[in-house]
Homo-oligomer: 504 residues x 2
């Protein structure tokens, strides 16, 4: 069990102990079992082809943060969509990197939305045991054969498995039971800055409006075999707080010799002083009004947490996070409540002056704190940033720049009673998994563009399959499991087939 | 006038307005004027050879911080010493990079000590207009022909000019008027960590004990033509303050996903809180007992400062530092007093978590502040570090690591009445320069190993010549001046000849 609770869509479902799903009961349409067997067999027959497709996808790096391979990554995604049967495949330009819009009209009564990403996180190849763009098939102890490479689990593996499901249905001579609307973006790893321009595009929004929900293919099976379903996510703001001589009117315009500190002000101290006002002695957010919108979890949400607290293991969770104790020394259940309920204000990076090995005697002209803010429902990005700015200004730190880098403007919420979540629960049951519901992941994804107005759709993640080390070296997606608790590629592909039929 | 007051040996003498030297009167020995003219002529005849020697020296990078080219740099320094006439040239191993010890016995009654460094600061070649290891001769507007490269002025240019003086004396068929004892180190840019092992070596210390003083060749002429003589320097400690989950017992063992901040402590906040206790609201040092040893400047020292305040230009000084106002909004004279008198506690760098472009949603396991402390007389490095540790522990931050990176254990002081300072003043006068005395540079050099016990020698810097941008891109040392206020290579070499005769 690598991490006890879902923190981000790429880690979705990496936590829950096997237990009966609490709230959802599926209402599957009758499906011809023989048809399904034919499709399953076709999927297995096409396994090598599907894995090769995934490898090809990984071998095309598309890193938005470095503007690397974006055009190529977008083109490849469009081709993969066409190959999988999407009839209309269109590039959607944005003010940033382009998106993809595609539709597959199966003549079915129901339409389902899909959300893909074609960008991946940066890499430091020296940290990898197998080169990140090789997408090699490697043997992992206690796991089995896996594709290793950047994007393997976040998110190309699950997306490729979903496309393989479409190939299998078509290859088996069947028609899809639902129509599909796909939106893909290339800026997920840099905060989905322009996804709204794709989702709200004149041709895209009407197509999405017809959908019963939107989901992202995911590898939801945790190392202990459990699967979770998130009913929401926190919003997220990434920003930089910058103290600079230029804005402050004190200190040097460029880095100067540190000995001048006897008579020249230091913006790094300025930053420290401003940062210190943002937290309480216990390092909780102390920004004026920051906690105003926070409300307690509902009884139903607390019941889900109780279930997780009872059926998962605190020691394993702490161990996998490398944490000796929770903040405030709370117990496990409270740590789970905090994870769902609390907004956060956290430093993700400090950069100022000399940052290399050893020392260098400079007096910096500028210092930066990279800050990550997680929003719970009823908090908005703009409102929170305004509060942060007002807090700083009130304390005489109005010169500190607040530069928003990107983010997810608000939290998302999807009802456990929605048809999509019911279909997820039912599809997992087909794989003999009792998925457990979780009120709100502590991480973020841009699902608010689907769950928020005007679309107001259910949105979430779905997919059997296992992988790990998203954003880290040696990211992998399991193909052939030798671990009795885990399923590989075939089950992942099959789960998408099942899900589509459940949705129908 | 690039900077109004000396902050470091590599910038020595870059500030003072022309004015009569206040305290020192030289007592030169009679020197045969014809002999001197012969030596000057020989120096000019050998200019190309001397400049080529400097270029060869620069083309051998020796960067202690990167353990790059250290062996080669030591070997080259030894060869250059031998070539210049040193009879005994010996490598002195240390626990770090080796030093050099060399003696030149001229059979003279007096012996003078020399302090060299063979290492240079790191470079980012992309920032240079001429590659840092090319040592190209470039034309600089309003300056003239200069050698550009890392180490050009800090300190290979001045050292090469000094060696050229020795070549000139020998080439002119003369004997040196003084004996020489040379110590060179390769770790000056990383805090001279092992210089004490060289200076206190069984063969080196007795040789140094015979010296009338120790000096480092320098390029003392500032852009406005003025030259200053420092009578001391502050001590310096470079250290890292480290907040880590490991020592704290809270937070994650490695960087984890930032969403966990809802229930996992963040060492970067811990660092901010600890740092905030180290300064007053006005960002002066607030470490308990830090200022105890600070004493006011003497009347003689204040007189030197008054002279500088009267004869140098505040606006130019502020402009060259890129500073709009001094700390505490003091006037110019007080800023000079602060520069001499105040110890400092300054952040030179902040590093923690994600430090690259944009953001990355991590919760760091460790955050570091690189801190620079400048010591005035009667403060010791050990005592100051003890006070810092006690201050942190008293406030509950005993888990913050205090890792000393290096430094200069204490301030240095040399009397204006010493024979060496008198000789400096007299030698500058020969170049028609009235050097101005300055009580204590705000920067540091390891002269305390010479001025402190047991040697207790006068120690300082000397040399005509001009260069700039030490530690910065496009570092240069002027060879042929086209600026009426500045002198080039020939005058620098000649100043060393004059100085040696004045010392005799």
């Amino acid at each position: 069990m690598p991490t006890p609770l879902v923190t981000r869509r790429d880690l979705l479902g990496t936590f829950l102990a096997s237990a009966a799903a609490a709230c959802a009961a599926s209402a599957p349409r009758t499906v011809d079992a023989a048809d399904l067997r034919t499709i399953y067999a076709e999927a297995e027959r096409r396994r090598a082809e599907g894995v090769q497709r995934l490898q090809e996808w990984i071998r095309q790096p598309s890193i938005a943060a470095e503007s690397r391979g974006m055009q190529e990554g977008c083109d490849l995604t469009m081709r993969l969509a066409r190959d999988a049967g999407f009839g209309v495949v269109e590039r959607i330009p944005t003010d940033g990197h382009p998106g993809v819009f595609a539709t597959l009209d199966a003549g079915a009564p129901r339409t389902v939305g899909l959300y893909f990403m074609y960008d991946v996180k940066q890499v430091d190849p020296s940290e990898w045991s197998s080169p990140p763009w090789d997408a090699a098939l490697v043997d992992l102890p206690n796991l089995g054969k896996a594709v290793m490479g950047r994007g393997a689990v976040n998110q190309k593996g699950p997306q490729a498995a979903f496309l393989a499901a479409l190939h299998a249905v078509r290859g088996a001579g069947k028609k899809l039971p639902v129509n599909l609307v796909l939106v893909a973006e290339g800026e997920e790893e840099v905060g989905s800055t322009h996804l709204a321009q794709i989702v709200r595009h004149a041709r895209v929004q009407p197509a999405l409006a017809k959908c019963m929900g939107v989901f992202m293919p995911d590898a939801s099976q945790a190392l202990d075999g459990t699967v979770g379903i998130n009913l929401g996510a926190k919003g997220d703001i990434e920003l930089e707080l910058v103290a600079s001589s230029e804005k402050w009117g004190r200190g040097p315009k460029t880095d100067i010799h540190s000995s001048e500190a006897a008579r020249v002000d230091n913006p790094a101290w300025r930053l420290v002083q401003a940062l210190a006002t943002l937290i309480t002695a216990d390092r909780d957010p102390a920004v004026d009004g920051f906690m105003d919108a926070v409300r307690p979890l509902s009884a139903a949400e607390l019941a889900m947490i109780d279930m997780v607290a009872r059926t998962s293991d605190e020691a394993t969770s702490k161990q996998s996070l490398g944490v000796a104790r929770w903040a405030h020394d709370v117990d496990y259940r409270q740590s789970l409540v905090d994870l769902c309920q609390k907004p956060t204000l956290s430093i993700e990076g400090l950069v100022g002056g000399y940052t290399g090995p050893g020392g260098k005697t400079v007096l910096p002209h500028r210092a930066v704190a990279k800050v990550d803010i997680r929003l719970v429902p009823d908090m908005t990005a703009d409102g929170t940033i305004d509060k942060l700015k007002a807090h700083l200004a009130k304390r005489g730190f109005g010169d500190i720049e607040v530069n928003v880098l990107g983010g997810i403007d608000e939290a998302t919420t999807t009802s456990a009673d929605s048809a999509m979540i019911r279909a997820e629960v039912a599809a997992y049951k087909k794989a003999r998994i009792d998925a457990m519901l979780w009120p709100r992941m502590a991480g973020s994804w841009p699902g608010h563009l689907f769950t928020g107005k005007p679309l107001a759709l259910p949105a979430g993640h779905f997919g059997m399959g296992h992988g790990d080390r998203a954003h880290a070296p040696d990211e992998y997606y399991l193909i052939e499991s030798n671990n009795p608790k885990l399923f590989g590629w075939d089950t992942a592909v099959r789960s998408f087939v099942d899900f589509l039929y459940e949705l129908a």
